[in-house]
Symmetry: D2
């Protein structure tokens, strides 16, 4: 078994070599790699050194795997963050404060976008979308002028220093601003029904592919159906944010 939690190793050359030796010495014919983009790049490298049938099953809170609309664990992470923001909103409203909520996502904003949309954030900040601080100040000041004294900004961790941003917003809008970082809890907890369903559907197709000896593929949800694509294609293509969700979020842009 390859611990996907040890991805960093798996992504390095020595990791791949070690994995290759383990597969060969144990006469492993088939391998299911469960993980995100990093694990699949390791799997692709591994496929060059072994004849084992390799199938990728996308599981990641980042939802950053090309070839699937959604990864196992993503819905769970979104709900964990939203449930916590529901609790923070109680303080935001009663104390009339603006909260910056930092969620996970160093390079990709899938999680922040969906958390922002479903938690009722006024502003959503994503690594993929440039924003001007002056626009944030303007929105907060505008809401204040209209009598709305509390507010939520959901930001992916990859957008930069959220603590410094909070201080700037506070200075420029004369509003009390607080920062809350929703951390590793997003990676754990009991999975939601949807994450469990995806796991069952993906596992089912992965086993079918192994049985049919169709390797070097990644299973996934494509427009509501469970399908598979080539591992090489999944690794080599960047998944982009859903333009409909982006539009819905009226995200700050230059």
């Amino acid at each position: 078994m390859l611990h996907t939690s040890r991805c960093p190793e798996f992504e390095k050359k020595e990791g791949v070599q070690k994995a290759t030796e383990t597969l060969v010495s144990n006469h492993v014919d088939g391998l299911v790699v469960i993980g995100g983009n990093g694990s699949f790049n390791g799997a692709l490298e591994l496929s060059n050194h072994t004849d084992a049938i390799i199938v990728g099953v996308p599981a990641s809170i980042d939802n950053d795997v090309y070839g699937t609309d959604e990864t196992i664990g993503f819905d769970t992470a979104v709900n964990t963050a939203v449930a916590e923001i529901d609790k923070i909103r109680d303080t935001a409203v009663s104390h009339e404060r603006v909260f910056i909520i930092e969620v996970m996502g160093r390079e990709r904003g899938f999680l922040a976008l969906e958390v922002g949309l479903t938690s009722g954030a006024e502003i959503i900040l994503l690594p993929e979308v440039k924003y001007r601080k002056e626009d944030i100040f303007k929105i907060i000041r505008g809401n204040k002028a209209k009598g709305k004294k509390s507010g939520l900004i959901v930001a992916a961790e990859g957008i930069g220093d959220t603590r410094a941003l909070g201080e700037q917003v506070q200075r420029n809008t004369r509003t009390e601003v607080r920062l809350s970082i929703i951390g590793y809890a997003q990676r754990g907890g009991s999975p939601t029904a949807r994450s469990r369903l995806l796991a069952s559907l993906f596992a089912n197709l992965a086993v079918e592919l192994l049985a049919k000896e169709e390797g070097n593929r990644v299973v996934g949800l494509q427009r509501g159906r469970v399908e598979s694509i080539e591992l090489k294609k999944s690794c080599g293509t960047e998944k982009t944010l859903d333009p409909n969700l982006l539009r819905l979020a009226k995200i700050l842009a230059t």
Copy 2:
């Protein structure tokens, strides 16, 4: 505003007449009907008596609206039921018992199917699929012979008398059987992120349709995209269970 919670009235002639008068006397130009199949049948009837632009937004824990893969509230109800079954399983395992869990769904098994799949039920009973009691007994007896002393049967309320079924299973398998009815809690609670996202996406399209004066339509999620279909088509077509999920569930059939 039409209380969808008063559907029973709305589905009757007098209800439709009252609604028509309300619309006319208040000079209402557009109407968004939020509800399930029953509400939409009322809306269709209403559309014959008014020029108001009517748009349907599917919201129902039954997921029984043709034209959308998923209704607002469905994901919430599934998660509520699954969370409760997670707690019941603790007793099932520690006391070595078989539990029949009855979930909502008088005529349709969408909820029971997804709850059963994601809660790890050994047997799923749906109104749409005939089953033979002897098959249930056989499965329970077989599991017992293999050393598995506990078990979960998820049943939609529409499959018949679950209490009587439990007694028959107990008698025929010599296993302690308990019944748990997951009731009205499935209709309430804080919505999941997914139910909130659908609500935002559906509302957005509904407003666009109103603005473009395209009435008598029902918005929905079709293979991952938000689209709309004719109200008449939605009301007149029966939505069927996903054959992939059915196969995955290896449901009991004659």
Copy 3:
């Protein structure tokens, strides 16, 4: 290890004899019995046949052990029921219905009393307190006259046939009444902080008693402190409902 989940056996003569033999043949010097009143009666019987040091640790959702203000698991069960009632209330209010919520408790009303008080029930029905149906009708009718169209009745399962009661209330008050049985979920789930704290505190004292060879005792929480009493006294004394909570609940009485 004695499975407390097999209490029914343990409470019988053969169970005690089997337990005695197990202790002797395994040269067991000390025994911690974790359970409720039934398990402790078995432990008391066992103490007449063995020299092992026996210490009882009260764990039961019924909270029916004399010698402790609270049992491990009680707070968890209360919170599970209250969380579910919070969800049911959504339907009660939106559909203007009266709900009877049946919680566990065949002979004792500790759970129903605390659930009723903390879920905002209008009426609480307990096995220990006689009530007249006419009084229930009067309260519901009175609330209706004042414009309050929904309502919650929390009832312990031991008060009789809640389904029949619901039908009588419906007939006599011309209000839609629904029954919801909060079942075995109350016995499971992740423990609350308070249940975990009691478990640590009780376990700590139990081990101290074993080390000091002070057996035939039951540990417990007495007015905020962790103490122990004689096993015989715990088994022989009936624990009564807290009169302050009873008063607070303004429970229906003849």
Copy 4:
């Protein structure tokens, strides 16, 4: 109504003066102050300038009010933190990391102590108890030598810079250390059954005191019973951590 959420004002002279004027100009005879230590100090000051009957009801996640074993909201905050740590532990174990979890509590460690005890923390750091960093390193190294590669340190925010501490632990124990700050979510959310019960019991006694015109008192839970003490005594006495819990926690000390 005095917004306890505006305590900072209430604790200042101008705040008290404003409150006095409001009471006088509105002919207020009785006042219930709901809050923590800060609010009660304001109430005490207020009592010198008005004849209104003042009763304090302890509500604070800090549990820092002398005269009550527990404040309204404390149990809710503990459970929120513990539920989040349960999710973080998944990552701690799977990734073999040590987590420092910072919970609220600038000056007092009631919350951190109970969260630490019930979340299974190896180390608990409180503002009231001095600790030596070398002792922390020793424990982590010792656990690592025994094969335990993950770990939890629960720290009150008042113990100093947890980020710097984490870096020191990482350097000195050659273990990956992560920091998670459980922030404002601890102040919100749906109250637990216990917090609701305390609220009912305290409110009940507060109203009785008002009716009997017994002012300048603080209600509270004392060894399991609802009683009241003098407001002056509550404000003037420091509440200390429960020595039994401290011993149970085997807290690091010099």
